[in-house]
Symmetry: C2
Subunit: 136 residues, 2 copies
């Protein structure tokens, strides 16, 4: 493959959550994760036009505590603890540590969104928010 | 919000697809999109360990033809064509133009994965691949 250019991701906001470390974060949102506030950059608030409470959203985060040099992990789902490639897992450790979180929008207050459940830790940069299609 | 640092995304691969322009791309994978090959960077092939044909995956792409300076669009789903914020839509135009594609893994050949259906255009950089949980 030809060497391809890199891209710059600029955070659009940040997660404010009661979860403060990877050690006490649920592995997935559906495993008892709390709601959290996303504080959007005020310059982007027009991007929230017609957001409605109750919508399902996909939040993309930058997993800033993850390792980018890991290609294989031992997934907890495998009792035999065999190595699996990170692209076959949900490991936060991967070359581009982007988290994908399907959430429900609970509240909107100006440039702040309450969403959940979400397993991201406090201070996690948010890099995108999208409408989540059914079954997606 | 405090100004936050940017991050560098390095593509992990590229999409080879019969779709060659935004004009002839389906808007979503479920709308008649074809299968496409993802050519992974050979240095990352260990990250495919235990990938199995039939798995559901989430592919993240960098929508390199998208505009990053757009915050509101007129979604086709709205007959009244009212403006909506990009974060309430699936518009490819958005500050960090990352595509989220839920696909099925059809074939694996070395560092190449046949996946689909996927609406990404030929040459689209791939930035992550993850296991897709049911209903996610």
């Amino acid at each position: 493959m030809t060497r391809r250019p890199s891209f710059t991701v600029r955070p659009i906001g940040v997660v404010h959550s009661p979860i403060t470390s990877r050690a006490n974060a649920p592995r997935q949102g559906a495993e008892g994760a709390p709601d959290a506030w996303i504080e959007l950059d005020p310059s982007l608030v027009r991007g929230l036009t017609r957001m409605r409470v109750g919508m399902e959203l996909i939040v993309l985060t930058w997993l800033h505590r993850a390792r980018r040099d890991v290609l294989r992990v031992r997934p907890r789902s495998d009792r035999r603890q065999r190595l699996a490639g990170v692209f076959a897992t949900r490991s936060p450790d991967r070359p581009n540590p982007i988290g994908v979180h399907r959430v429900t929008l609970r509240e909107v207050e100006g440039a702040r969104l309450l969403v959940g459940p979400i397993e991201a830790i406090d201070g996690t940069p948010v890099i995108d928010i999208k409408y989540a299609m059914p079954n997606y």
